[in-house]
Symmetry: C2
Subunit: 232 residues, 2 copies
Protein backbone atom coordinates (compact mmCIF):
# COMPACT_ATOMS: atom_id res chain seq x y z
CA UNK A 1 0.00 0.00 0.00
CA UNK A 2 1.38 3.38 -0.99
CA UNK A 3 1.91 6.27 1.40
CA UNK A 4 -0.63 8.43 -0.44
CA UNK A 5 -3.37 5.81 -0.08
CA UNK A 6 -2.67 5.49 3.61
CA UNK A 7 -2.97 9.23 4.08
CA UNK A 8 -6.16 9.39 2.12
CA UNK A 9 -8.05 6.89 4.19
CA UNK A 10 -6.51 8.04 7.47
CA UNK A 11 -8.61 11.19 7.30
CA UNK A 12 -11.88 9.31 7.15
CA UNK A 13 -13.90 9.69 10.38
CA UNK A 14 -13.71 5.95 10.91
CA UNK A 15 -9.87 6.01 11.06
CA UNK A 16 -9.14 9.60 12.06
CA UNK A 17 -8.96 9.29 15.83
CA UNK A 18 -7.27 5.93 16.33
CA UNK A 19 -3.72 5.47 17.59
CA UNK A 20 -0.97 5.28 15.00
CA UNK A 21 0.04 1.78 16.11
CA UNK A 22 -3.52 0.52 15.84
CA UNK A 23 -3.83 2.03 12.39
CA UNK A 24 -0.64 0.29 11.39
CA UNK A 25 -1.99 -3.06 12.58
CA UNK A 26 -5.20 -2.35 10.70
CA UNK A 27 -3.59 -1.82 7.32
CA UNK A 28 -1.01 -4.58 7.67
CA UNK A 29 -1.71 -6.94 4.79
CA UNK A 30 -4.00 -4.39 3.17
CA UNK A 31 -3.74 -3.69 -0.50
CA UNK A 32 -5.07 -1.39 -3.15
CA UNK A 33 -6.68 -2.25 -6.43
CA UNK A 34 -7.68 -0.18 -9.41
CA UNK A 35 -10.57 -1.35 -11.53
CA UNK A 36 -11.88 -0.24 -14.91
CA UNK A 37 -15.57 0.71 -15.21
CA UNK A 38 -18.25 -1.97 -15.28
CA UNK A 39 -16.25 -4.54 -13.34
CA UNK A 40 -17.86 -6.81 -10.78
CA UNK A 41 -16.04 -6.50 -7.45
CA UNK A 42 -17.89 -9.27 -5.68
CA UNK A 43 -21.18 -11.06 -5.69
CA UNK A 44 -23.82 -11.34 -2.98
CA UNK A 45 -23.39 -14.45 -0.85
CA UNK A 46 -19.60 -14.39 -0.99
CA UNK A 47 -17.51 -14.17 2.16
CA UNK A 48 -16.38 -10.70 3.14
CA UNK A 49 -12.69 -11.00 3.81
CA UNK A 50 -11.98 -7.30 3.47
CA UNK A 51 -13.42 -4.02 4.58
CA UNK A 52 -13.54 -1.93 1.42
CA UNK A 53 -12.69 1.75 1.18
CA UNK A 54 -13.38 3.56 -2.09
CA UNK A 55 -10.79 6.29 -2.64
CA UNK A 56 -11.66 7.23 -6.22
CA UNK A 57 -14.36 6.46 -8.76
CA UNK A 58 -17.87 5.19 -8.15
CA UNK A 59 -19.25 1.83 -7.06
CA UNK A 60 -22.79 0.49 -7.29
CA UNK A 61 -24.15 -1.89 -4.67
CA UNK A 62 -27.02 -3.91 -6.09
CA UNK A 63 -29.09 -6.92 -5.19
CA UNK A 64 -30.73 -9.58 -7.30
CA UNK A 65 -33.55 -12.07 -6.94
CA UNK A 66 -35.35 -14.17 -9.49
CA UNK A 67 -33.69 -12.42 -12.46
CA UNK A 68 -34.63 -9.01 -11.08
CA UNK A 69 -32.05 -6.46 -10.03
CA UNK A 70 -32.20 -3.32 -7.93
CA UNK A 71 -29.61 -0.70 -7.03
CA UNK A 72 -29.31 -0.48 -3.27
CA UNK A 73 -26.72 2.28 -2.96
CA UNK A 74 -24.13 4.26 -4.86
CA UNK A 75 -20.81 4.52 -3.03
CA UNK A 76 -18.79 7.68 -3.68
CA UNK A 77 -15.25 8.48 -2.48
CA UNK A 78 -13.95 8.59 0.11
CA UNK A 79 -16.02 6.12 2.07
CA UNK A 80 -15.93 2.65 3.50
CA UNK A 81 -18.46 0.00 2.63
CA UNK A 82 -19.34 -3.51 3.79
CA UNK A 83 -18.70 -2.69 7.42
CA UNK A 84 -21.62 -4.76 8.70
CA UNK A 85 -20.59 -7.90 6.82
CA UNK A 86 -17.01 -7.39 7.99
CA UNK A 87 -18.03 -7.10 11.63
CA UNK A 88 -20.32 -10.10 11.52
CA UNK A 89 -17.99 -12.14 9.35
CA UNK A 90 -21.10 -12.84 7.31
CA UNK A 91 -21.66 -13.10 3.55
CA UNK A 92 -22.39 -9.97 1.50
CA UNK A 93 -26.05 -9.12 1.07
CA UNK A 94 -25.29 -7.08 -2.04
CA UNK A 95 -23.14 -7.38 -5.12
CA UNK A 96 -20.86 -4.57 -6.25
CA UNK A 97 -19.65 -3.27 -9.59
CA UNK A 98 -17.66 -0.22 -10.59
CA UNK A 99 -19.46 2.45 -12.57
CA UNK A 100 -16.29 4.43 -13.26
CA UNK A 101 -12.61 3.64 -13.06
CA UNK A 102 -12.22 3.09 -9.32
CA UNK A 103 -9.60 2.69 -6.67
CA UNK A 104 -10.38 0.49 -3.68
CA UNK A 105 -8.40 -0.06 -0.49
CA UNK A 106 -8.91 -3.52 1.00
CA UNK A 107 -8.36 -3.97 4.73
CA UNK A 108 -8.42 -7.54 6.03
CA UNK A 109 -11.64 -8.10 7.97
CA UNK A 110 -9.78 -9.96 10.67
CA UNK A 111 -7.64 -6.86 11.31
CA UNK A 112 -10.79 -4.77 11.65
CA UNK A 113 -12.25 -7.12 14.23
CA UNK A 114 -8.96 -7.40 16.12
CA UNK A 115 -8.22 -3.69 16.23
CA UNK A 116 -11.81 -3.00 17.24
CA UNK A 117 -11.02 -4.79 20.50
CA UNK A 118 -7.73 -2.98 21.02
CA UNK A 119 -8.38 0.65 20.17
CA UNK A 120 -11.25 2.48 21.84
CA UNK A 121 -11.30 5.41 19.45
CA UNK A 122 -11.59 3.00 16.53
CA UNK A 123 -14.32 1.03 18.27
CA UNK A 124 -16.26 4.22 18.86
CA UNK A 125 -15.81 5.31 15.25
CA UNK A 126 -16.85 1.93 13.89
CA UNK A 127 -20.02 1.81 15.91
CA UNK A 128 -20.91 5.37 14.95
CA UNK A 129 -20.31 4.62 11.30
CA UNK A 130 -22.43 1.51 11.53
CA UNK A 131 -25.21 3.38 13.32
CA UNK A 132 -25.12 6.02 10.59
CA UNK A 133 -25.34 3.34 7.90
CA UNK A 134 -28.22 1.71 9.71
CA UNK A 135 -30.12 4.96 9.85
CA UNK A 136 -29.37 5.53 6.19
CA UNK A 137 -31.01 2.24 5.19
CA UNK A 138 -34.00 2.92 7.42
CA UNK A 139 -34.48 6.30 5.74
CA UNK A 140 -34.20 4.71 2.32
CA UNK A 141 -36.75 2.13 3.38
CA UNK A 142 -39.15 4.84 4.55
CA UNK A 143 -38.65 6.61 1.23
CA UNK A 144 -39.62 3.49 -0.72
CA UNK A 145 -42.52 2.49 1.52
CA UNK A 146 -44.18 5.85 2.06
CA UNK A 147 -43.77 7.59 -1.27
CA UNK A 148 -44.81 7.06 -4.87
CA UNK A 149 -42.11 6.99 -7.52
CA UNK A 150 -42.73 10.56 -8.66
CA UNK A 151 -42.47 11.78 -5.08
CA UNK A 152 -39.17 9.95 -4.68
CA UNK A 153 -37.88 11.50 -7.88
CA UNK A 154 -38.95 14.99 -6.81
CA UNK A 155 -37.04 14.60 -3.55
CA UNK A 156 -34.04 13.17 -5.36
CA UNK A 157 -33.85 16.20 -7.65
CA UNK A 158 -34.18 18.64 -4.78
CA UNK A 159 -31.43 16.89 -2.86
CA UNK A 160 -29.04 16.98 -5.79
CA UNK A 161 -29.80 20.61 -6.48
CA UNK A 162 -28.76 21.32 -2.90
CA UNK A 163 -25.62 19.23 -3.31
CA UNK A 164 -24.85 21.19 -6.47
CA UNK A 165 -24.82 24.35 -4.35
CA UNK A 166 -28.39 25.31 -5.10
CA UNK A 167 -27.72 26.32 -8.74
CA UNK A 168 -30.81 26.49 -10.96
CA UNK A 169 -29.19 24.04 -13.38
CA UNK A 170 -27.14 21.02 -12.46
CA UNK A 171 -26.07 17.69 -13.93
CA UNK A 172 -27.49 14.38 -12.81
CA UNK A 173 -24.78 12.43 -10.98
CA UNK A 174 -25.68 9.09 -12.60
CA UNK A 175 -27.06 7.52 -15.72
CA UNK A 176 -30.81 7.77 -15.72
CA UNK A 177 -31.28 4.02 -15.68
CA UNK A 178 -29.21 3.87 -12.46
CA UNK A 179 -31.26 6.65 -10.94
CA UNK A 180 -34.39 4.74 -11.92
CA UNK A 181 -33.12 1.55 -10.29
CA UNK A 182 -32.01 3.42 -7.17
CA UNK A 183 -35.47 4.98 -6.88
CA UNK A 184 -37.16 1.62 -7.39
CA UNK A 185 -38.69 2.29 -10.79
CA UNK A 186 -38.13 1.36 -14.44
CA UNK A 187 -36.24 3.62 -16.87
CA UNK A 188 -39.45 4.11 -18.88
CA UNK A 189 -41.26 5.20 -15.77
CA UNK A 190 -38.49 7.64 -14.87
CA UNK A 191 -38.61 9.14 -18.33
CA UNK A 192 -42.34 9.77 -18.05
CA UNK A 193 -42.04 11.03 -14.47
CA UNK A 194 -39.48 13.64 -15.59
CA UNK A 195 -41.92 14.87 -18.23
CA UNK A 196 -44.68 15.06 -15.63
CA UNK A 197 -42.41 17.13 -13.39
CA UNK A 198 -42.39 19.74 -16.17
CA UNK A 199 -45.68 20.91 -14.65
CA UNK A 200 -43.77 21.45 -11.40
CA UNK A 201 -41.04 23.66 -12.83
CA UNK A 202 -38.50 20.99 -13.79
CA UNK A 203 -36.80 21.09 -17.18
CA UNK A 204 -34.73 18.18 -18.37
CA UNK A 205 -32.34 17.93 -21.27
CA UNK A 206 -30.13 14.87 -21.28
CA UNK A 207 -28.16 14.83 -18.03
CA UNK A 208 -29.03 18.44 -17.27
CA UNK A 209 -31.82 19.43 -14.91
CA UNK A 210 -33.12 22.96 -14.46
CA UNK A 211 -35.53 23.84 -11.68
CA UNK A 212 -36.78 27.34 -12.39
CA UNK A 213 -39.00 27.51 -9.29
CA UNK A 214 -38.57 25.21 -6.31
CA UNK A 215 -42.00 26.08 -4.89
CA UNK A 216 -44.23 23.67 -6.80
CA UNK A 217 -41.66 20.89 -6.62
CA UNK A 218 -41.30 21.34 -2.88
CA UNK A 219 -45.06 21.14 -2.43
CA UNK A 220 -45.06 17.85 -4.29
CA UNK A 221 -41.91 16.40 -2.70
CA UNK A 222 -42.59 17.44 0.90
CA UNK A 223 -39.02 16.63 1.96
CA UNK A 224 -38.74 15.45 5.56
CA UNK A 225 -35.69 15.62 7.75
CA UNK A 226 -36.16 12.05 8.97
CA UNK A 227 -36.14 10.69 5.41
CA UNK A 228 -34.11 13.06 3.30
CA UNK A 229 -31.52 14.65 5.53
CA UNK A 230 -28.47 12.37 5.54
CA UNK A 231 -27.02 14.10 8.58
CA UNK A 232 -29.92 13.70 11.00
Amino acid sequence: MRESDICEIRNLPIFADMAESAFARLHRGAYVQTFPPQVDLFHEGEASDFLHVLTAGQVELFATWNRRETTMEIVTPVSSFLLAATIQDAPFLCSARTLEKSRVVLLPSENVRDVFDEDRAFARAVVRELAASYRGVVKSSKNIRLRSSIERLANYLLRYQDLAGGAESFALPLEKRKIASLLGMTPENLSRALRTLGEYGVQNDGQSITICDRGPLLRLAKPARLIDDPSS
Copy 2:
Protein backbone atom coordinates in the same frame (compact mmCIF):
# COMPACT_ATOMS: atom_id res chain seq x y z
CA MET B 1 -35.52 -1.93 38.76
CA ARG B 2 -36.41 -5.33 40.13
CA GLU B 3 -34.02 -8.24 40.37
CA SER B 4 -36.11 -10.34 37.97
CA ASP B 5 -35.97 -7.67 35.27
CA ILE B 6 -32.22 -7.42 35.63
CA CYS B 7 -31.81 -11.16 35.25
CA GLU B 8 -34.05 -11.23 32.24
CA ILE B 9 -32.13 -8.71 30.21
CA ARG B 10 -28.74 -9.94 31.43
CA ASN B 11 -29.14 -13.06 29.31
CA LEU B 12 -29.54 -11.11 26.09
CA PRO B 13 -26.52 -11.51 23.79
CA ILE B 14 -25.93 -7.77 24.00
CA PHE B 15 -25.45 -7.91 27.80
CA ALA B 16 -24.44 -11.52 28.42
CA ASP B 17 -20.65 -11.27 28.25
CA MET B 18 -19.96 -7.95 29.94
CA ALA B 19 -18.39 -7.59 33.36
CA GLU B 20 -20.73 -7.39 36.35
CA SER B 21 -19.48 -3.94 37.31
CA ALA B 22 -20.04 -2.62 33.81
CA PHE B 23 -23.53 -4.07 33.76
CA ALA B 24 -24.20 -2.37 37.08
CA ARG B 25 -23.10 0.99 35.68
CA LEU B 26 -25.25 0.36 32.64
CA HIS B 27 -28.47 -0.13 34.52
CA ARG B 28 -27.87 2.57 37.12
CA GLY B 29 -30.77 4.98 36.68
CA ALA B 30 -32.61 2.49 34.52
CA TYR B 31 -36.26 1.84 35.08
CA VAL B 32 -39.05 -0.40 33.96
CA GLN B 33 -42.44 0.54 32.65
CA THR B 34 -45.54 -1.47 31.89
CA PHE B 35 -47.88 -0.22 29.23
CA PRO B 36 -51.38 -1.25 28.18
CA PRO B 37 -52.03 -2.13 24.51
CA GLN B 38 -52.26 0.60 21.89
CA VAL B 39 -50.12 3.10 23.74
CA ASP B 40 -47.68 5.36 21.96
CA LEU B 41 -44.21 4.98 23.49
CA PHE B 42 -42.55 7.74 21.51
CA HIS B 43 -42.84 9.59 18.26
CA GLU B 44 -40.35 9.88 15.41
CA GLY B 45 -38.16 12.94 15.69
CA GLU B 46 -37.96 12.83 19.49
CA ALA B 47 -34.65 12.52 21.28
CA SER B 48 -33.62 9.03 22.29
CA ASP B 49 -32.65 9.26 25.93
CA PHE B 50 -32.97 5.54 26.58
CA LEU B 51 -32.04 2.26 25.00
CA HIS B 52 -35.24 0.23 25.13
CA VAL B 53 -35.46 -3.47 25.92
CA LEU B 54 -38.80 -5.21 25.49
CA THR B 55 -39.17 -7.96 28.08
CA ALA B 56 -42.82 -8.85 27.52
CA GLY B 57 -45.57 -8.00 25.07
CA GLN B 58 -45.26 -6.69 21.54
CA VAL B 59 -44.24 -3.32 20.12
CA GLU B 60 -44.77 -1.90 16.64
CA LEU B 61 -42.22 0.45 15.09
CA PHE B 62 -43.85 2.54 12.39
CA ALA B 63 -43.09 5.57 10.29
CA THR B 64 -45.30 8.30 8.89
CA TRP B 65 -45.13 10.82 6.09
CA ASN B 66 -47.80 12.99 4.56
CA ARG B 67 -50.64 11.24 6.42
CA ARG B 68 -49.42 7.84 5.33
CA GLU B 69 -48.18 5.23 7.76
CA THR B 70 -46.15 2.06 7.39
CA THR B 71 -45.06 -0.60 9.85
CA MET B 72 -41.29 -0.89 9.81
CA GLU B 73 -40.81 -3.69 12.31
CA ILE B 74 -42.50 -5.69 15.04
CA VAL B 75 -40.40 -6.03 18.17
CA THR B 76 -40.90 -9.21 20.19
CA PRO B 77 -39.43 -10.10 23.58
CA VAL B 78 -36.75 -10.26 24.68
CA SER B 79 -34.94 -7.78 22.47
CA SER B 80 -33.44 -4.34 22.49
CA PHE B 81 -34.50 -1.64 20.10
CA LEU B 82 -33.35 1.87 19.17
CA LEU B 83 -29.71 0.99 19.48
CA ALA B 84 -28.63 3.10 16.49
CA ALA B 85 -30.38 6.25 17.72
CA THR B 86 -28.90 5.65 21.18
CA ILE B 87 -25.37 5.32 19.85
CA GLN B 88 -25.62 8.37 17.63
CA ASP B 89 -27.56 10.40 20.16
CA ALA B 90 -29.85 11.19 17.25
CA PRO B 91 -33.64 11.51 17.00
CA PHE B 92 -35.79 8.43 16.43
CA LEU B 93 -36.56 7.63 12.81
CA CYS B 94 -39.62 5.63 13.81
CA SER B 95 -42.49 5.93 16.22
CA ALA B 96 -43.47 3.12 18.56
CA ARG B 97 -46.71 1.82 20.02
CA THR B 98 -47.59 -1.22 22.05
CA LEU B 99 -49.77 -3.85 20.39
CA GLU B 100 -50.19 -5.86 23.58
CA LYS B 101 -49.65 -5.14 27.23
CA SER B 102 -45.90 -4.64 27.30
CA ARG B 103 -43.01 -4.34 29.68
CA VAL B 104 -40.08 -2.17 28.69
CA VAL B 105 -36.72 -1.70 30.40
CA LEU B 106 -35.23 1.73 29.80
CA LEU B 107 -31.46 2.12 30.04
CA PRO B 108 -30.12 5.69 29.92
CA SER B 109 -28.46 6.28 26.54
CA GLU B 110 -25.58 8.05 28.21
CA ASN B 111 -24.80 4.92 30.22
CA VAL B 112 -24.78 2.87 27.03
CA ARG B 113 -22.28 5.22 25.37
CA ASP B 114 -20.12 5.40 28.49
CA VAL B 115 -19.99 1.68 29.16
CA PHE B 116 -19.32 1.05 25.48
CA ASP B 117 -15.97 2.77 26.01
CA GLU B 118 -15.21 0.89 29.21
CA ASP B 119 -16.17 -2.71 28.58
CA ARG B 120 -14.79 -4.52 25.56
CA ALA B 121 -17.21 -7.41 25.66
CA PHE B 122 -20.11 -4.96 25.67
CA ALA B 123 -18.57 -2.97 22.83
CA ARG B 124 -18.21 -6.11 20.80
CA ALA B 125 -21.78 -7.18 21.53
CA VAL B 126 -23.18 -3.75 20.68
CA VAL B 127 -21.42 -3.61 17.34
CA ARG B 128 -22.53 -7.14 16.49
CA GLU B 129 -26.12 -6.34 17.44
CA LEU B 130 -26.02 -3.20 15.34
CA ALA B 131 -24.50 -5.04 12.39
CA ALA B 132 -27.24 -7.66 12.68
CA SER B 133 -29.92 -4.93 12.74
CA TYR B 134 -28.35 -3.27 9.73
CA ARG B 135 -28.41 -6.49 7.78
CA GLY B 136 -32.02 -7.03 8.84
CA VAL B 137 -33.08 -3.71 7.34
CA VAL B 138 -31.13 -4.37 4.15
CA LYS B 139 -32.91 -7.72 3.79
CA SER B 140 -36.26 -6.08 4.38
CA SER B 141 -35.40 -3.47 1.77
CA LYS B 142 -34.47 -6.17 -0.76
CA ASN B 143 -37.76 -7.90 0.01
CA ILE B 144 -39.74 -4.74 -0.75
CA ARG B 145 -37.75 -3.73 -3.81
CA LEU B 146 -37.40 -7.06 -5.57
CA ARG B 147 -40.72 -8.75 -4.87
CA SER B 148 -44.38 -8.16 -5.56
CA SER B 149 -46.79 -8.11 -2.66
CA ILE B 150 -48.03 -11.64 -3.22
CA GLU B 151 -44.45 -12.93 -3.30
CA ARG B 152 -43.74 -11.14 -0.03
CA LEU B 153 -46.85 -12.66 1.50
CA ALA B 154 -45.93 -16.15 0.30
CA ASN B 155 -42.51 -15.84 1.92
CA TYR B 156 -44.02 -14.43 5.09
CA LEU B 157 -46.34 -17.41 5.43
CA LEU B 158 -43.55 -19.91 4.81
CA ARG B 159 -41.36 -18.23 7.40
CA TYR B 160 -44.08 -18.32 10.05
CA GLN B 161 -44.87 -21.90 9.29
CA ASP B 162 -41.23 -22.68 10.00
CA LEU B 163 -41.31 -20.65 13.20
CA ALA B 164 -44.43 -22.59 14.22
CA GLY B 165 -42.36 -25.77 14.03
CA GLY B 166 -43.46 -26.66 10.51
CA ALA B 167 -47.03 -27.62 11.48
CA GLU B 168 -49.53 -27.69 8.62
CA SER B 169 -51.76 -25.25 10.48
CA PHE B 170 -50.61 -22.27 12.48
CA ALA B 171 -51.94 -18.94 13.72
CA LEU B 172 -50.89 -15.63 12.25
CA PRO B 173 -48.80 -13.75 14.82
CA LEU B 174 -50.44 -10.38 14.11
CA GLU B 175 -53.65 -8.72 13.04
CA LYS B 176 -53.99 -8.93 9.29
CA ARG B 177 -53.91 -5.16 8.87
CA LYS B 178 -50.54 -5.08 10.64
CA ILE B 179 -49.24 -7.87 8.43
CA ALA B 180 -50.45 -5.88 5.43
CA SER B 181 -48.67 -2.74 6.60
CA LEU B 182 -45.49 -4.68 7.39
CA LEU B 183 -45.54 -6.19 3.91
CA GLY B 184 -46.15 -2.80 2.32
CA MET B 185 -49.68 -3.40 1.10
CA THR B 186 -53.24 -2.41 1.98
CA PRO B 187 -55.53 -4.66 4.04
CA GLU B 188 -57.82 -5.06 1.01
CA ASN B 189 -54.89 -6.19 -1.06
CA LEU B 190 -53.80 -8.69 1.59
CA SER B 191 -57.30 -10.12 1.74
CA ARG B 192 -57.34 -10.69 -2.00
CA ALA B 193 -53.79 -12.02 -2.04
CA LEU B 194 -54.71 -14.64 0.56
CA ARG B 195 -57.57 -15.80 -1.66
CA THR B 196 -55.23 -16.01 -4.63
CA LEU B 197 -52.84 -18.14 -2.58
CA GLY B 198 -55.64 -20.70 -2.36
CA GLU B 199 -54.42 -21.84 -5.78
CA TYR B 200 -51.04 -22.47 -4.18
CA GLY B 201 -52.25 -24.68 -1.38
CA VAL B 202 -52.95 -22.06 1.28
CA GLN B 203 -56.18 -22.14 3.27
CA ASN B 204 -57.13 -19.23 5.48
CA ASP B 205 -59.82 -18.98 8.13
CA GLY B 206 -59.56 -15.95 10.37
CA GLN B 207 -56.15 -16.00 12.06
CA SER B 208 -55.54 -19.60 11.07
CA ILE B 209 -53.44 -20.59 8.06
CA THR B 210 -53.16 -24.09 6.68
CA ILE B 211 -50.61 -24.99 4.04
CA CYS B 212 -51.47 -28.45 2.80
CA ASP B 213 -48.60 -28.64 0.31
CA ARG B 214 -45.56 -26.39 0.49
CA GLY B 215 -44.47 -27.23 -3.07
CA PRO B 216 -46.55 -24.75 -5.08
CA LEU B 217 -46.08 -22.01 -2.50
CA LEU B 218 -42.32 -22.52 -2.47
CA ARG B 219 -42.19 -22.28 -6.24
CA LEU B 220 -43.99 -18.94 -6.04
CA ALA B 221 -42.11 -17.57 -3.03
CA LYS B 222 -38.61 -18.66 -4.03
CA PRO B 223 -37.22 -17.92 -0.56
CA ALA B 224 -33.59 -16.80 -0.57
CA ARG B 225 -31.14 -17.05 2.28
CA LEU B 226 -29.92 -13.49 1.75
CA ILE B 227 -33.43 -12.07 2.08
CA ASP B 228 -35.40 -14.43 4.26
CA ASP B 229 -32.98 -16.10 6.64
CA PRO B 230 -32.67 -13.87 9.71
CA SER B 231 -29.54 -15.67 10.87
CA SER B 232 -27.40 -15.27 7.76
